[in-house]
């Protein structure tokens, strides 16, 4: 493969590195050096069957080919509150991958949250123990995000602490009219027996073209119970490439729900490593792709040890020229006996021109397992529509009701107070535009 694109990015990096002072944190710099080495041999994947077939339907090479400005030290983030989620919680504000003042908040129960750069400075031993430990060395996007990261989110919940309030991450991208790239790395550490909930709100500021590339690492300790909900409501020019690595220890429970409402191209990569016996994972998602939107959710649920449970449910609707891709893999390692894994993807395709692609995969090397997946692609049920119309419901309303019912099953799974209603309202709003 010709490397002109990669070389352009390396040049861009060198130019940027020359202008940077020595102000940065040694820990982050060490990872940055490693990332540069990795990036020099990795490639930004083209669409196709390479890279273990992870990019079969989505071309990310084009996304990284634009001549955008690289978001550097951002102006202090003063997030616009008008769009804020009506959810009680600890707020963490990001603008273009930066945390503004780079501060950490410490609660009396030992919880620490805020800027990853600040944490690397103030809690170096803690950050060092976890930062860049879960990422795949072959993952070009985690290397790129480590290379250019200025900051990111850091959340630490110590042993045995159950944090009652959710963390609300308000992650904005865009800055006036300028097209930009921004990169970030995020770190979440949940110690043994802890419990926490997070809401991650991805928003755009303005309508300019943006590309946000971020990688997060989530370490879930023994018996910890974590729930994470993400919603994407980016502008029609915004591209997001996000990678997630979750490692679960013994008897831990990690639940995630992702709702893709708006954005030009949303690519999610989630790798879950079930490394402790008895760990439970639930990964759910909703994708509502209209116009020319392309949403691609790729998961890799890795059962490394025995007696773990995982379940996945993804529902997608595509209309206009929209594309919804679900590509999920369940991997069961040799000797990961008594694994119970389930995967389901249902797609609705509303008109000619829309696309639904699904690739649910099982890769199993142990025999005492219960693994299954189901995938369907279809359309609204004409009989149900007819039934509703007979009862005086307009065609439009009947269609809306059916789509709403279709996605509600997934959106209603969150237990964060008030959030399900918010998500459902957003879903209805989007459905009306499908």
């Amino acid at each position: 493969m010709e490397r002109s694109l990669e070389n352009r990015w390396i040049e861009r990096y060198r130019a940027w590195a020359a202008t940077r002072g020595a102000a940065s944190v040694p820990l982050l710099e060490a990872v940055r050096r490693k990332a540069l080495e990795a990036f020099e041999r990795l490639e930004i994947p083209a669409k196709g069957s390479g890279h273990g077939d992870r990019y079969h339907y989505t071309d990310l090479r084009t996304a990284f080919a634009g001549e955008y400005r690289l978001a550097t030290e951002a102006a202090p983030a003063s997030a616009t509150d008008s769009d804020s989620l009506p959810i009680q919680g600890h707020r963490i504000r990001l603008l273009n991958g930066g945390c503004g003042e780079k501060t950490l908040t410490r609660l009396s129960n030992g919880v620490i949250f805020g800027s990853l750069a600040a944490a690397a400075r103030q809690e170096p031993s803690l950050v060092e123990r976890y930062y860049d430990t879960l990422t795949d060395p072959q993952d070009v996007f985690s290397a790129m995000s480590a290379l250019w990261m200025q900051d990111g989110v850091f959340v630490y919940v110590p042993t045995g602490v159950e944090e009652p309030l959710p963390f609300v991450i308000e992650d904005e991208v865009g800055d006036g009219g300028e097209a930009l790239y921004c990169f970030a790395r995020h770190l979440f550490v949940f110690e043994r027996g802890s419990a926490a909930r997070l809401v991650w709100d991805h928003r755009s500021r303005g309508e300019a073209s943006t590309l946000k590339c971020g990688t997060r690492e989530v370490s879930v300790g023994e018996d910890a119970r974590i729930e994470m909900v993400e919603l994407y409501r980016l502008s029609a020019q915004a591209v997001s490439v996000s990678g997630g690595y979750v490692r679960q220890a013994r008897n831990s429970r990690f639940e995630s729900l992702s709702a893709s409402f708006n954005g030009a191209l949303l690519r999610h990569d989630l790798t879950v490593m079930l490394d402790g016996c008895g760990a439970e994972n639930r990964t759910d998602g909703v994708m509502l792709a209209g116009e020319a939107e392309k949403f691609d959710y790729t998961t890799d649920i890795r059962h490394h040890v025995s007696d773990c449970t995982s379940s996945e449910q993804f529902k997608s609707i595509a209309s206009g020229e929209g594309t919804a891709v679900f590509s999920g893999r369940i991997y069961v390692a040799p000797d990961a006996q008594r694994t119970n894994a389930y995967q389901q993807n249902n797609g609705l395709i509303l008109n000619t021109g829309a696309h639904v692609y699904t690739k649910p995969q099982l890769e199993i090397y142990a025999d005492d397992v219960k693994c299954s997946h189901g995938a369907t692609v279809g359309q609204l049920d004409p009989e149900a529509i007819y039934y509703m119309r007979q009862r005086g419901i307009s065609l439009q309303e009947a269609r809306r009701l059916q789509m709403y019912g279709f996605v509600r099953e997934v959106l209603g799974k969150t237990r964060i107070e008030g959030l399900a209603e918010v998500l459902e309202a957003m879903a209805v709003d989007k459905i009306d535009r499908l």
């Binding site: 696309h355 693994c371 369907t376």
Partner: protein
């Protein structure tokens, strides 16, 4: 439990029943592949110029390609220059009656359980026996000829029906299709050609036996079946190879053209030599099979029982171009010891109201890897297309792998596509239930495996179903009894 372990052990201990080498003089050409070899093959077969040109074009294209690596297979490097690309039994090329056939050759078929005479008498099957590369014996040709059915080797067809061959050869699997299809187009030695004229229902099952015999020779078969409007044919293909230490390459191409209202059933029982217990030897089976339903209401059904080969790379596919055409794929794939299989199908829905159905049953034992890989694509224009896929995997033993890689691509809003897959082992409770009723664990496993594969075995023609069941037992011998 201990008894069960013993059964799993036994299961990897089953030896290949068809391992023997026939001592017939074979005429071969030098090892390796270049334009001269391609010309030589073409010349030896006395082919017309356009055919030589076709081969050369394919060869030149092949040189630009590299081995596909996307399958879930661990394929050792293959030295394509270390293969003999042509081997013909050095006996008289044609026989009038069975007496003229080399008795040793007949004995080989005997050992294989291909009773030509018996089939002629009892089953009423016309057998076009292909040994190494040249078709040696074609039977029942006259009966078929009365109906206007052409069933002969592809080299005869090139001589007698050049226009038909030229019209359809490469129309479903062009030489540009993939690495192995290009290689096959360049060097194919022989194969079968079948043409069913308009409105004719072929009165008997057509059958071909493939067999790799000479050491170090690759087998590059090319099969072309054309079912003209409103016709029907059921075609059976069975494969065995004698035991060999080094790996042998088999890269066949099967093309099927189904015209309006016609129906083709293609059944395969494949038990090439799978290698020994330690994964030494065995056939590499890299096959491109594809059919095109060209006309309205055309039907194509693939049924395969795959028990052999060290490595299987095979995706019998249907291109559903005609409106309301139907594609079916039924598969049982068994892997044992160190076998690897990556097999499945592609259903490409192009026409309106097209339907397809996929039933795949994988059984992995020993240290084998068994993957289903399938694509269902519904194009923009395929109004009302319908697909149902079911892929089940059964694991026997804890050292093997079972994988499922379905691809579903829907671009039409009226399509309904469903896919289901499960992976499990034989339930302790099922075994216990059988044991309680006086069945030994071996019999119970046999019963369960047979029941599991029944849905597919039922689709095979009668003569084959019996053999397939026997093969299942041999492949899983020890556990099945």
């Amino acid at each position: 439990m201990e008894q069960q372990d013993k059964i799993w052990d036994d299961l990897t201990g089953s030896d290949y029943k068809y391992g023997f080498v026939t001592d017939i003089d074979t005429e071969t050409i030098p090892k390796g592949l270049n334009e001269d070899i391609v010309r030589l093959i073409s010349q030896k077969k006395g082919e017309p110029d356009w055919m030589t040109e076709f081969r050369l074009k394919a060869y030149r294209h092949w040189r630009t390609l590299s081995m596909p690596r996307w399958a879930h297979l661990d394929i050792p490097e293959i030295d394509f220059q270390d293969i003999i690309y042509y081997a013909a039994p050095r006996t008289k090329p044609k026989y009038e009656s069975l007496d003229e056939v080399d008795p040793e050759l007949l004995a080989t078929f005997e050992k294989l359980g291909v009773p030509i005479e018996e089939r002629m008498l009892l089953a009423g099957v016309a057998v076009d026996a292909v040994m190494d590369s040249v078709s040696v014996k074609t039977t029942f040709k006259e009966t078929l000829a009365e109906k206007g059915i052409v069933f002969c080797s592809i080299s005869e067809a090139l001589r007698d029906y050049p226009d038909l061959v030229r019209q359809y050869l490469g129309s479903v699997v062009p030489y540009t299709d993939n690495f192995f299809a290009a290689l096959n187009a360049a060097v194919f030695s022989d194969g079968s050609f079948c043409y069913i004229p308009k409105g004719v229902r072929c009165p008997m099952e057509l059958s071909t036996y493939f067999r790799i015999n000479a050491a170090g020779t690759g087998q590059f078969e090319r099969t072309l079946i054309v079912a003209d409007e409103g016709s029907y044919v059921s075609y059976m293909e069975g494969c065995t190879a004698p035991m060999r230490d080094e790996n042998q390459l088999h890269a066949a191409v099967v093309e099927i053209v189904v015209l309006k209202d016609a129906e083709v059933k293609y059944s395969t029982v494949q038990n090439w030599y799978p290698g020994d217990k330690d994964g030494r030897g065995g056939v590499y089976n890299f096959v491109t099979k594809r059919g095109m339903c060209r006309g309205e209401n055309a039907r194509l059904s693939w049924t395969q029982v795959e028990t052999g080969s060290a490595i299987t790379w095979k995706y019998p596919s249907c291109i559903l171009a005609g409106d309301n055409s139907v594609g079916e794929f039924y598969s049982v794939a068994v892997t044992n010891n160190h076998q690897q299989a990556d097999t499945g199908t592609r259903m490409i829905h192009l026409g309106r109201g097209t339907r397809s159905r996929i039933v795949s049953k994988g059984i992995s034992a020993g240290q084998s890897q068994n993957s289903y890989r399938g694509l269902v694509r519904v194009s923009r224009k395929a109004e009302g297309a319908r697909n149902y896929s079911q892929c089940d995997s059964l694991l026997i033993g804890d050292r093997c792998g079972a994988h499922t890689f379905p691809y579903i691509e829907v671009d039409n809003p009226s399509a309904v596509v469903e896919h289901e897959a499960t992976t499990s082992k034989i339930g302790e409770d099922q075994l216990f239930y059988c044991n309680q009723r006086g069945l030994s664990t071996e019999d119970a496993v046999g019963l369960i495996v047979n029941g599991y594969a029944k849905e597919v075995l039922n689709k095979l023609p009668m003569e084959f179903a019996v053999e397939a069941q026997k093969l299942l037992s041999i492949s899983l011998e020890g556990s099945v009894g």
